[in-house]
Structures are given as C-alpha cells and as structure tokens.
C-alpha cells in the first residue's frame, strides 16, 4: 500500500543522505521525496512517498526513528491528511494548441506562468492523481517538458507534527 511519511529532522549536512541511504540499503521503495527547512531553521521537514506491506512500513518507521538526526516521524496514512504536489509543464502553444492549452489549464485550475512565442509554462498543484490526469488529458506531442516536486503532506485538523 502507498504511504506518505512525514518527518522532522535536524537541518544538518548529510541528514538527507542518511534517509536516502537507509531506503536504498534496506531495499525500501521511494516514489518521491521532498525536503526543505521549516519555520525553525534548525529543522527540515521531509515527505516521503513509499509503498510496502504493513510489516515493511512498520520497519521503515522504526528504522527512520533510529536515525540519530531524525527528530520525529509520522505516517500520515494513520489518520486524515492532505497531500499536494506542484508540477510545471512546458507545452507547445502554437496555432490551435494555444487556445486548447489555455482551456485545459483553466479546467484543471492551473496557471500559465510563462508565455513565449511558441510555448506556455503551466503551474499546477494538486494530488498526484490530479497531476497525472492533467498529463493524460494533454496531447502527448504538445508536452515539451514536465517537472514535479513530489508530494508534500500534512495532517488534517489538529493532527500536528511539531517538536
């Protein structure tokens, strides 16, 4: 099953490689991994999207907790949560494509953030499924480039991951 794991860790050189190294050394899947400092600059928040049986997920949580730099770990799937991912897509925007792209972008509530002679760059946020759906709905020949951040997740309501 797909799980989204959130963790807080010391914002120190090498902390990211400890997490990445753990996943590769123990053969755990990483679908995506995002990390950035939090409002407290000594802490980084990481979101890892992974998959595995319950036993594997239990081991992943335990092994992450064992890393000295990791302060807190939360399996978001243990409760209600929201996930969002940002995608930038550069598409062909010539002739008939230009109007089509604008319309598709509006339907998916994306924004065109760069306009050039022959291209648009569209910004879109949402769940991974929504971003997938957007890509699916575009003419493949029109897609010049895509970049996705991987999911970020947060618990709903008063589910808070904080030190």
């Amino acid at each position: 099953m797909r799980h989204i794991i959130s963790l807080l860790m010391e914002n120190e050189a090498g902390a990211l490689s400890r997490v990445a190294g753990l996943f590769s050394a123990r053969g755990y899947n990483i679908e995506s991994l995002t990390v950035a400092p939090t409002e407290d600059p000594t802490l980084s928040r990481m979101t890892i999207v992974t998959s595995g049986s319950d036993d594997v997920i239990e081991q992943i949580i335990k092994q992450l907790n064992k890393l000295i730099d990791v302060v807190k770990v939360l399996d978001l799937n243990d409760g209600k949560f929201i996930e969002r991912e940002l995608m930038l897509v550069k598409v062909k925007a010539t002739g008939a494509f230009r109007e089509e792209m604008k319309r598709m972008c509006d339907i998916f509530r994306g924004r065109i953030i760069d306009v050039a002679d022959g291209t648009f760059t569209i910004e879109l946020t949402g769940s991974g499924h929504k971003l997938d759906a957007f890509i699916e709905s575009l003419d493949k020949a029109a897609i010049l480039e895509t970049v996705r951040t991987g999911a970020s997740g947060i618990g709903r309501g008063d589910r808070i991951l904080k030190v």
């Binding site: 860790m9 090498g14 400890r18 036993d55 064992k66 000295i68």
Partner: protein, 574 residues
C-alpha cells in the same frame, strides 16, 4: 602549544586528547599518518592513556572492539585519512553488526581541500554511513569537544554501536578553549530504557502459565550486563535456556538448564525446544537467519513470543511477536524477577513433562564425535582447551569451522569471555581480538582459536604482540582447508572443492619464532593436552600452537541454508 596571549586556548589536537581523558579512556588503538600528525604530537605529550600501535588499521578497530566486548567500556581507535580510514571500515562494520560501542577518530584532509580529490582524501562520513550508529565531520575547532561528548554518548547508550568522528587536519591545529560539556542533550536521540510495565506483567504471566516455556537470549544480555538477572529469572521459572552465538556466556553453559547454542550449528535439543515451545521469551536477540533458519518453517508451529529488546526495529523484523517489550534488558529482567518472586512459581506437571522431553532430546548426544582415527580432532582440542584453562579464559575466534567448534565445545560460564564476530562474520578478527582482551585483562588467559585461513588475514599483528609482550595463546586448528567452505562444497557442491584448499602455508612455528614468539606444532592426539598445559604455563610468552587436525572433520549439527530449524543434519545421520 599554549598561546601566550590567550593562555586558555589549546589546539584542536589537544582538545581531542583532553576529551579522551575526560572519558577516562585507557587505551587508544591506532596508526599514525599525515592527517593525524597533530593529534599524534599531542599524544606524545600526554600521559593519560596508552596508545597501542598496531600494524594495520583494521586491527586497530578490531582490538578496540574486543577491548569493549571484554570490559563493557567504549573502545577507541585512531586512524589517518584516506587509506587509513578505509582500512578501518571492516572493523567498524564488524562492530556495527554486533552492536559494540566504539569511537573511531579518523583524520581528514584540511577543510579547504575537502572535495578536491586531495592526497589521501576519502569521504569517510559517506563511506561509513551504512555501517555506523552515527558519524560526524567536525568543521570547526569549537565543535570538537561537544562532538566527542556526543560520540561517546551515542556509542554507549541505547543499542550501542560504533560512531566515527572525522576531523580535518587544519581543525586539529586551530585554537579554542576546552570546555567539555557535563551532559549532552539531543532532541532527536532519547533511547528508551524502561520497559512497559503492563507488557512485562503480561509476559511474566504467560511464562508462568506456559506448558513448554523457553528462554532464548542473545548478545543483548551480554552487552546489557544482564547475565545475573537472566540466571535469576531462569532459575525462578525453571525454564530451559538457549543462547545465540553472540549470547554465549550470558547464561552459564555448565548449568543443567542450559540446552546449548541454537541455530545453524546449534544443538539438537536447543533447536527442537525452540521449535516446540509454547511460550518463547526472547531477550536481546533478533531471530536472525542463522538462528531460526527458514521463518516459514518456524511459523509452522504456533507459539506465543515475547520479545525484549532495546531496539524497537529489532522487534517484529523477521518474526512477528505477540508481546513486544522495548527496554534495557537488565531493567526489564529485574522487573520480571520482582514479579516472579512475588508469585512464587510452582513446578507444574506440564513443566516436568517438558523437561522430560528436553532430556530425551539431549540423549541424542548431538555433539559426540568419533575420536578414534588417530588424527587430532578439532573438537577434542577445544575440549582440552576448556579443561586446561578451567573454563576461565577469554576465547576469541575467527570465522569458520573453528569458530563453531569453539562455540560448541568451550563451555562459557561468564559473559564477556567469548569474543567473536557473529554478525558480519569477519575472518581475521581473532588475533586483534585477543590483543584487545589481553590489554583489557593483562594477567588473564587469552586464547585465539583460529584457522590457517583466518589467521593469515591479520597475521601482521604478531609484530604488535611482540612489541607489547602480549602472552596470547594462538590455537590454530590447521586442516589445510577453508574448512567451512569445504564443508559446504562437500554437502552442496558434490565435493567440488573450488579454491578452498589452503596451499603454500608458511611454517607457522618458524613464523612465530621469527617474531620472537614460541611456536609449537602438535600432530598427535596424545600430545594435545600436554602441549596446551605447557603453553599456558608460559605465562609471559606468546605461544603459537599449530594443531595439525583431521582435514575431513565437519561441524554438526548443521542446518542447510533455507531449511527449517528442526531439519538438522546430525553426525550420526551420515
């Protein structure tokens, strides 16, 4: 070198030394080189600890590791950057797999040179990441003291393990005030010590109500200094006890409740009892592949499993447990003992029947061997070693058949006497391990049980033993084969002994003598006991004993890889 304008400032190198002094370190095992020259200069000027000069960095880490295994203190090794650091890796990985607390200080190229492929540069933090509990690169002289404090704290608390502190050369020359923190607080590291009381109660109730209870204990009991508490619990409950390879000595081997080591080369009774018990209390052990064999076969019988371990990730890793207890084994066992003492357990008829069953398994005499062909049997050498040393020696071993025979036939009654590489299975540890033990306990009997393959992997340390006059006794079980490899090839590769014959061996007697040691070659069974007595009577001499043993002897019982715990091959089956 004191700075006259700022008399309280000292160099980073001196700070390193002061930290070791604060940690009451007695021995530092190391090897000098460019990046640690400032530190070695500071060592020259200090008088708080003794530096032991090894002949290869791998041996420095192994010796520090054995010092820790023998004493319970944190072992310390010091190596230079680049090749010095990479030579230390096998030692670090060995300690990591067996949860041994170490602090390994490695030199690094100066900070401005890092990342430029400088001479003798290697990314030590990167290279060691998968085989350390934690590691640090110190980039400011002001951080050395706090980092060292953290390193020792992390190494010895929770589930212990090796910690690497990588210090660039320029940092060891910079000046700073020495302030050693009294305590260390880390928001990200707070290992649990006390077990959950409710779970402990539940565990005790299960054990007392069990019809076929079993105690299975590992290295955690030895590392957690919980042997006494374990004996108390086992006695109060009158349950059979088995130890893992790492757990030997955690329970006295000569006690009647001890059913021997379990696992791939465990006793028949230990493996049968492990499979057939209805309540299993696992303490400081981790159900690894060499212990329970095929997990599916293990699950074919239902039993309730209680698992006590300080590391939550060891619980339900290979085997799903019913009552997990995360905590320090000594504290958990003490709590169990209190509960059991209050209950005054009675000897139930079911327990009596269980013991009768165990005695029936015991009557197989699975460790008996045929000693009649006129050749020296390796098992016989170990039995005689046990007699001659009265079971009190520190016994180190390398890896292979000789290791298993030592584990099976030397009856360890005390913890921290059996020193071997259980997890990583590192050939070459035996001699440096013996060095570490001898430094830990200078007047003790120290035997290094080894093979002619393993001993050659760190043979250079004969020189270190000469320098420090270490009266170690090497018990070489020389069968002119990489015995365990040969055994597997005999069983599973139709006797195709691919590269397992040890050809072109040195004359070990002359080799030992060339280092100023005593060399002995023993070729007849009737000479074994006398030779051992003679060697151990030479209390101040290093004696290298080359026992020419039966080439075809195999280790039994044996469970083939992938087979179940009770699918043992016994000597009598062949």
């Amino acid at each position: 070198m004191a700075d006259t304008a700022h008399p309280h400032l000292i160099t980073g190198a001196e700070i390193v030394i002061r930290c070791l002094e604060q940690e009451k370190v007695k021995f530092v095992f190391g090897y000098p080189g460019g990046a640690v020259l400032h530190i070695y200069d500071a060592i020259y000027k200090q008088g708080h600890f003794k530096h032991i000069l090894v002949r290869h960095e791998q041996a420095a880490v192994h010796a520090a590791d054995a010092f820790s295994r023998a004493t319970g203190e944190v072992g310390v090794a010091l190596v230079t950057s680049g090749p010095g650091a990479t030579n230390a890796i096998t030692g670090i990985a060995t300690a990591y797999m067996d949860s041994i607390p170490l602090v390994v200080i490695s030199g690094q190229v100066p900070v401005p040179a890092i990342g430029l492929d400088a001479f003798q540069e290697v990314d030590m933090v990167g290279v060691t990441r998968p085989c350390v509990k934690h590691n640090f690169l110190v980039k400011d002289v002001k951080d050395i003291a706090e980092t060292m404090k953290k390193a020792f704290h992390i190494a010895k608390t929770g589930r212990p393990g090796p910690v690497v502190v990588d210090i660039p050369k320029d940092i060891t020359a910079h000046l700073a005030e020495f302030i050693y923190p009294a305590t260390v607080e880390m928001r990200s590291y707070n290992p649990v010590t006390k077990g959950h009381s409710g779970q402990i109660k539940k565990a005790v109730k299960l054990m007392m109500e069990a019809k076929r209870p079993m105690l299975y204990t590992g290295g955690g009991v030895v590392l957690g200094n919980a042997a006494e508490a374990l004996v108390k619990l086992a006695k109060a409950l009158n349950v059979p006890v088995t130890n893992t390879l790492m757990g030997l000595g955690g329970y006295p081997s000569t006690d009647k409740q001890f059913v021997g080591m379990l696992g791939m080369h465990g006793t028949y009774e230990a493996n049968m009892a492990m499979q057939e018990c209805d309540v299993l209390l696992a303490v400081g052990a981790r159900f690894d592949d060499r212990v329970i064999g095929n997990p599916e076969h293990f699950f074919s019988k239902h039993r309730t499993i209680i698992h006590v371990d300080i590391d939550p990730s060891s619980i339900s890793k290979r085997v799903k447990v019913d009552v997990p207890i995360v905590g320090d084994v000594k504290s958990v066992l003490a709590e169990m003992n209190e509960l059991v003492a209050a209950e005054k357990p009675q000897q139930s008829p079911a327990l009596k029947a269980w013991w009768a069953q165990i005695d029936a398994w015991r009557s197989k005499l699975c460790l008996s061997y045929d000693n009649s062909n006129g050749l020296i049997k390796p098992q016989y050498v170990i039995e005689k070693l046990w007699e001659v040393t009265k079971g009190e020696a520190y016994v180190t071993s390398d890896v292979g058949q000789h290791q298993m025979w030592a584990a099976q036939y030397y009856k360890f009654d005390q913890p921290r006497r059996w020193i071997n590489s259980g997890g990583l299975g590192t050939m070459g540890v035996g001699l440096p391990y013996a060095m570490g033990c001898q430094f830990a306990d200078p007047t003790a009997q120290v035997a290094c049980v080894t093979g002619e393959g393993s001993i050659q992997m760190n043979i250079q340390e004969l020189s270190t033993c000469k320098q420090y006059h270490l009266p170690i006794k090497v018990i070489l079980l020389n069968n002119r084969y990489l015995g365990m490899v040969r055994q597997w090839q005999e069983f599973f590769y139709e006797n195709r002994y691919s590269e397992s014959y040890m050809d072109s061996l040195p004359d070990f007697v002359k080799l030992a003598e060339s280092y100023g040691h005593v060399g002995m070659r023993i070729e007849k069974p009737e000479d074994v006991e006398g030779a051992l007595k003679e060697a151990f009577d030479m209390k101040s001499r290093f004696v290298f004993m080359d026992f020419v043993t039966d080439q075809k002897e195999n280790v039994f019982p044996m469970i083939a890889a992938g087979k179940g715990l009770t699918e043992m091959i016994l000597a009598e089956d062949l």
